[in-house]
Amino acid sequence: MTRFSTGKLAAAAFIASEAVFFAFLIAAYIYYRVNMQGPYYGRTYLDPPRTLIFTICLLASSGTLWLAERNLAASHASGFRLWLGITIALGAVFIGGQGWEYYGLITNNVTPERNLFGATFFTLTGFHGFHVVCGLICLGILLLLAFRKRFTETEITGVGAVSMYWHFVDLVWIVIFSIVYLAVWI
């Protein structure tokens, strides 16, 4: 007898392992931030207000994905596709913003090689960005499927699993935004 949705349970277990992974990267960021010698580069080179705009896009994408799922549950295929498309667009805007930010930093010679701020910043935000890209690929596959056919019960579970993952990636960003960007003034 199936006690829980297989897809969602597997997603939860996967997310648990991902949470540990990010916890260690975040701990490394904090450790080096506290023990860093010399001036703190984040204060000079990061632009929290600008990043806040892209952060809002990413957070909004969690809301639009929730709306997409509600449409799916109500069997509104077109509504599902619309909100899923908007979710992907918002995620893509976030990644675009991250690319813009990276470009600015690297042209100012802030790199992993230069100092520990560069190393920890790019490692932490880079792995988060990588997870967003993976999430976008999953959402893209769902959108492709949504255009080609109606979803069955099992596939709706798959949507639930992807959505859990997407919300998790958003949640991690809230932590990273607080620690990396909001804390530049500390």
Partner: protein, 550 residues
């Protein structure tokens, strides 16, 4: 058998394929059947065991007498690193995952794992990770900074060739596979238990595998985080773990052991599960204190996450750290001791059958207890300072991992081989195998306690001719060859028994758990009918209708 329906839900794996006799090798590559994947895990680990064993023998030849020049120091460093990495990541962990893969669905009355394709993915990514590790030899230099790759030795400034990069990438791949299997096992055990098989009736092997899977989810990502940081250091010239640039080599140690100590329990919890299945069946008694065995596993898993710095007493972290981690490490001996007493109490007054499987289980109890005691001695950190990085540590960890886990796996091999192959392993050859392996093991490693207390450091390619050191090392080397020979006897036994072993039938040991209700070897879908489960020993209940349930 009554008409209890099968655990529903999954599409039967490869339903369209032909009979077992007609099986084509491509079917093995394409398979998503948990039994075939389990067997592929076991065969792969057997090959890596032989490779890692040969590496061990090369080291023992080099160490046989003082001043030997059989290997160069460079070669020796690569070989001990590859030996450790191979045995931990490519033998012990996947061996236990392979057994879990094969047995878990059968023991809970399911047709397959919950996510069969993830299962196949996990296996293949593990296999290619292992191959990647060995490809490092072709780059001209295998990794050479030990299985825990302490920074800054593993950093670019000290390991200038590509060995460490292969090491980190290979371990990332293997780690992903391990996490995939852990997720799969959790979902399988939660979702696919046959009706009536409540969590309090779960076979103890499955209990341990379940707890172990959570431990994997908590531990392996710590290693992955450390590995990507090491790779960024090496490939992008960052300074996470080098003093130059303000990084912290100590942080590598914290991260590695935050993974590495739970890893020790990842390597031993399923072995506890094996012993908890084998000992009751061959003592003809139900396990003594089922709830204690299960609960102590949870206690071990939780505690194991909080004791990592006992690997770092020699660093000089400060008294507060030393007290905290020494104390926690002492605590962990309590739930482990509970288990030892449970197994002994299970045997007490039982009608013990001394099969080869049971002999190995007894050898496990004896050897693991010695390894556990030497382990507790490290928790007293002044003693740790004296013995750290000596052969005392080498002796301890081999008593735990070889004399503990591997002896348990040997017990599992003799116990479940009939289920997997349909034929019994020869008990006659099995006894020879047991005697040789037991003597070879203790001959190799017991004396290393003394060498270590006498101050012989580990990881050095040779040593001066101090009184007794040459003789003790020679004894250890001879023991290692006896041990190596015993593995050949095992291989011979498997070879002979696969061809002409006695037919096993469904339940040769008169065991009680559900896997023995399936034919040997089980068909693709495992069960036509799953017996009803009203207790912890469903097959015993079936054979004794109307009697008190256990």
């Amino acid at each position: 058998m009554s008409d209890v329906p099968l655990t529903p839900g999954l599409i039967p794996a490869e339903a369209a394929h032909g009979s077992r006799e007609a099986s084509h090798w491509l079917e093995w590559i394409a398979t998503v059947d948990h039994k075939r994947i389990g067997i592929m895990y076991l065969v792969t680990t057997l090959i890596f065991l032989i490779v890692g064993g040969v590496e061990a023998l090369l080291m023992r030849i080099q160490l046989a007498w003082p001043g030997n020049t059989f290997l160069t120091p460079e070669e020796y460093n690569q070989i001990f690193t590859m030996h450790g990495t191979t045995m931990v990541f490519l033998v012990v962990v996947p061996l236990l995952l392979g057994l879990a893969n094969y047995l878990t669905p059968l023991m809970i009355g399911a047709r397959d794992m919950a996510l069969p394709r993830l299962n196949a993915f996990s296996f293949w990514v593990f296999l290619f990770g292992g191959i990647l590790l060995y490809l490092s030899f072709m780059s001209g230099h295998a990794p050479a900074s030990g299985w825990f790759a302490y920074a800054p030795l593993s950093e670019k400034g000290y390991s200038t060739r590509y060995g460490e990069d292969y090491w980190a990438l290979a371990l990332l791949g293997i780690g992903v596979g391990t996490i995939g299997t852990a997720i799969n096992l959790i979902v399988t055990i939660v979702n696919l238990r046959t009706p009536g098989l409540t969590i309090r009736r779960l076979p103890l092997f499955v209990w341990m595998v379940f707890v172990n899977s959570f431990l994997i989810l908590a531990a392996i990502p710590a290693l992955n985080a450390a590995l990507v940081m090491l790779l960024i250091d090496r490939q992008l010239n960052a300074h996470f773990f080098t003093h130059v640039g303000g990084g912290s080599p100590i942080l590598w140690q914290h991260y590695f052991w935050a993974f590495g100590h739970p890893e020790v329990y990842i390597m031993v919890l399923p072995a506890f599960g094996i012993i908890s299945e084998v000992v009751p069946v061959f003592s003809r008694k139900p396990i003594f204190g089922y709830a204690f065995v299960a609960a102590s596993t949870v206690a071990i898993a939780v505690l194991s996450l909080g004791v990592w710095a006992h690997h770092m007493f020699a660093v000089g972290l400060g008294k507060a750290w030393d007290y905290a981690f020494g104390g926690a490490s002492l605590l962990i001996a309590v739930p482990t001791g509970v288990k030892i007493f449970n197994w002994i109490a299970t045997m007490w007054g039982g009608a013990i059958r001394f099969t080869t499987s049971m002999l190995f289980a007894l050898a496990f109890l004896f050897t693991f207890t010695i390894g556990g005691l030497s382990g507790v001695s490290f928790a007293a950190w002044p003693l740790d300072w004296q013995t750290t990085d000596t052969y005392y540590v080498v002796a301890h960890m081999h008593y735990v991992l070889f004399g503990g886990t591997f002896f348990a796996v040997m017990a599992a091999t003799y116990y479940w081989f009939p289920k997997m192959s349909g034929r019994m392993l020869s008990e006659r050859i099995g006894r020879v195998h047991f005697v040789l392996m037991f003597i070879g093991f203790h001959m190799t490693f017991f004396i290393q306690h003394i060498l270590g207390l006498d101050g012989m450091p580990r990881r050095v390619w040779t040593y001066p001719n101090y009184p007794g050191w040459g003789v003790m090392n020679m004894i250890s080397t001879i023991g290692a060859f006896v041990l190596g020979f015993s593995v050949l006897v095992l291989l011979w036994n498997i070879f002979v028994s696969l061809r002409s072993g006695q037919m096993a039938g469904a339940n040769p040991w008169e065991a009680w758990t559900l896997e023995w209700a399936a034919p040997s070897p089980p068909p693709e879908h495992n069960f036509d009918l799953v017996p009803p489960v009203h207790g912890r020993r469903p097959l015993w209940d079936l054979a004794h209708p109307g009697e008190a349930q256990s």
